[in-house]
Amino acid sequence: MTVTVTPATGSATASATGSATASATASATASAVATAAPVGTSYDVDRIRADFPILSRRVHDDRPLVYLDSAATSQKPRSVLAAMTDYYERHNAAAHRGVHVLAEEATDIYEGARDKVAAFIHAPDGREVVFTKNATESINLVAYALGNADRLGSRGRLGPGDEILVTQMEHHSNLVPWQLLAQRTGATLRWIPVSLEGRLELDDLDSLLTDRTRIVAFVHQSNILGTVNPVDVIVRRAREVGALVLLDSCQSVPHLPIDVQALGVDFLVFSGHKMCGPTGIGVLWGRFGLLAELPPFLAGGSMIEEVTMAGSTYAEPPQRFEAGVPMIAEAAGLGAAVDYLTGIGLDAVAEHEHRLTGYALERLAAVERLRIIGPATTSSRGGAISFVIDGIHPHDVGQLLDETGVAVRVGHHCVRPVCQLFGVPATTRASFYLYTTYGEIDALLDGIERAKRVFG
């Protein structure tokens, strides 16, 4: 099915040229808009969906699955599953160990995935990409290693009087490791507050980010609010005062073109499973000079240089941070995910999600008793939309949506401080990805109206 959009009217009046959208059903307009492509490109969401076997699943009384939970984890295209199966069927061996043909192939697959990831985020050097279990481990690695480092750049050991800066919208995985680091070292944890519009309050940035600040760790795109934070503003100030910067990009690497050099940060973390890859693999990118200064996190095989009974020296990064036989099949899958996303183009993905988000925000804003928790417009905002409905607990909203086949996330999304700020126990969150359609957003809205009817 091909759909074209005229420049003057945008997605609102997408004209379907295929017969599939000519049906006279109530959702015909939505289906037509579903495949709206950016001008001059051919973003074909139906073709993309065909790559994801799970999206044709039916649930609860044979209803089509409407998967609006990609911020929790994305679905996987066939090519990712095939890469993992192929690895196990043809190449399985312990990477970096042995000289036989399978070991060489496994090592090539693993290191090849590293190079693909490096190119994907425009890292200047593949050695700057460390594979971890997930983004949570990546952040813990940095927090732990910083606490043990004798010096950080030109400055000494982290300790009392030093400060760690985060924001009030951090996922627990980018908050608790820093709380623990502060406890271990005597450093002070501070945070940038969040406004009720769901934006960072940066007016007092200069007094929060000072020469006492050793590291500032913050989220690129909030998993609960959808907010895309102004990395440049924070990085500029961090550079002025000589603080390191760690960017949590779990919700941005899958959705936006990312260039670590253009961002100017020191560390960047993300997980594989939110970007069409498998669970069990995450990434820590760090400037090579910085990684080279950090002591190990997990210790064991393959992270060493020389070992005696009395002591050891450590391998150069990234091996220093990859103790034990690594997750080779997962790396194969992540490499395939990078290829898949690169083939479609992150610009096209971002444009698609931007349009979907605009449509969803507009429709949700018209729902009575519904309050969006996060920015109300698409400006500096991604496709994760949290909301609450008066008189219906988010868990009930989520359960009733599930009964109609619509899968959303409910709860505090591991960002309890934001729920406290907005005075809600939890939210319902719908999140979009490259395979999401306008028709699925319509299904969400229908499900919300049904939930309101059930609860009266």
Partner: protein
């Protein structure tokens, strides 16, 4: 609408019009339980009449916030335990626990569980079982503490310390922990 919806009319009725709601005096024990994954919270008080085998649940009062399942289940629970002897009430609690961990395989006994049979469908959704159990676990905890208060200090021991609810340790157990 699915015919086997979790949201039976009985549940919605108790959610809209909860029984025995509010925190009342006097009471023997008060607990605060939370469901950390959902953000459900419940403060619950128990008053007992009598001691030992004759102890009877005189009042259960509560305040909290949470989803319809946790709120309605707490309301139903107060109907089922209030006025009963502690031993009888614990038997009902055990029957409810068994139903909740049955994954939809147990046919509930209406003579024992009354309105609580409406939660049979919830047992098919492991993520929601802990919502249905929040009030029951809080009641069991408070009742146990109330028994201790009634028992008084041991002959030569120190006076009992007033029970302090610690939300970090008094969370609802996992289904595995509530084997009847």
């Amino acid at each position: 609408m699915q015919t086997d919806s979790m949201y039976q009319e009985i549940i919605l009725d108790h959610y809209r019009h909860p029984h025995h709601q509010g925190l009342r005096e006097p009471y023997d024990a008060e607990v605060h339980h939370v469901n950390p994954t959902c953000g459900d919270e419940l403060t619950l008080r128990v008053r007992l009449d009598g001691t030992g085998a004759d102890a009877r649940v005189a009042d259960v009062s509560y305040a909290g916030e949470g989803c319809s399942i946790s709120q309605a289940s707490t309301s139903v629970m107060t109907d089922l335990v209030t006025g009963r002897t502690l031993a009888e009430a614990l038997q009902v609690a055990d029957a409810f626990g068994a139903l909740m961990q049955s994954r939809g395989t147990l046919e509930p006994d209406e003579n024992v569980l009354e309105d609580a049979i409406a939660f049979a469908g919830v047992s098919r959704y492991p993520a929601r079982v802990k919502c249905a159990l929040l009030g029951w676990m809080a009641w069991k905890d408070a009742a146990t503490r109330a028994v201790d208060v009634h028992a008084g200090p041991p002959p030569d021991g120190p006076a009992p310390v007033a029970p302090v609810a610690d939300p970090t340790t008094l969370t609802a157990p996992t289904p595995e922990e509530i084997v009847p």
